[in-house]
Symmetry: C2
Subunit: 221 residues, 2 copies
Amino acid sequence: MHRLFHFPLSPFCRKVRLSLAEKRIEVELVEERYWEQDADFLRRNPAGKVPVLRMGGQNLSESSAICEYLEELHPETPLLPRSPEGRYEVRRLVGWFDDKFFREVTSKLLYERVNKKVMGQGYPDSANVKAGARAIKFHLDYMAWLLDQRRWLAGDSMSLADFAAAAHLSCLDYISDVDWNRSETVKDWYAKIKSRPAFRSILADQVPGFLPPPHYADLDF
Amino acid sequence: MHRLFHFPLSPFCRKVRLSLAEKRIEVELVEERYWEQDADFLRRNPAGKVPVLRMGGQNLSESSAICEYLEELHPETPLLPRSPEGRYEVRRLVGWFDDKFFREVTSKLLYERVNKKVMGQGYPDSANVKAGARAIKFHLDYMAWLLDQRRWLAGDSMSLADFAAAAHLSCLDYISDVDWNRSETVKDWYAKIKSRPAFRSILADQVPGFLPPPHYADLDF
């Protein structure tokens, strides 16, 4: 069976897990303490990051390259639309979440609160946490603005853009950092995506020392 | 004519400029002081970053999404191979340079030495500069290792991976931060890509207050 080397609260791994599950590609999940830079792991991916997907004798890395590859091998459940304009918009938003949202929000909240502790790198920096808590509001409003015009984030079909966004938000929801009361539209979108079978394994994640809030796995939150 | 809002020493803008030039799409270059977050600019791209490509009434952002879009509109000069495996390898390496190389090298050398001064954010942090100078050696060795097995970085044809790498290296070369004596293989690769017509506009770049070394625009360096 294919194997995915991952860390449960990594949005980049979650994006790949959602793609794999939506395309019904079964994988064995292997938790990887990637920050320890174990020699075996570095052999699999010299970039020293997760996710790494072991598939057909190859070790695949870089979450967006993996998702595009899965899309080309398994186009029957499309996560990219057909028109160049539609595909551009999906990729722009994947970039938005994996770069801008990550830098402004995920790295400031999740990395400060969880990764630092797990990696033994000390306590959260309160200036970062405050900046992250401020920035997430702007991002939720931007999502609400997009979703006022479209059924899904990048257009009328669910796409990699929704998975990228849901991957970040679900990690932050695990540590209660998403205010779902801010926008009914965004909450409805998340409820839709959360109820997909692909989301099940993500809702079952557990990180020792961090207990998710009761609503985390609740489809009717 | 199309317009590209850019900053001369931005590797992300240079990657898009190389793609446009290789595909013979003419654009007018407009220098954008994006860090000043001018209201007009933010309307064009709420992410507040360069490049922004104004094309057919649309404002396109996120350099990788733009390059994929140009590829789909103009496949006649391909910068992505045809096989899913080949395309995966190009995208993996684009990710390698735009994420890992950027974080470990470009942000530590170029941002400390140039962007901070241009943006009025003070002096270079010497610990960062040292870390960047150390890390670039590892990356040049990795490139040499790839190029020992392949004509171009991702395979037998020139691709977006070469443009991503050359975009970062050319910015660092402008501030004399690339030791071309480290690897004959990498130097030969760079000489090949530097001599392409697509590279001309990049070799003509000037940033006030920073004079490039004499070899910067020399094809026989």
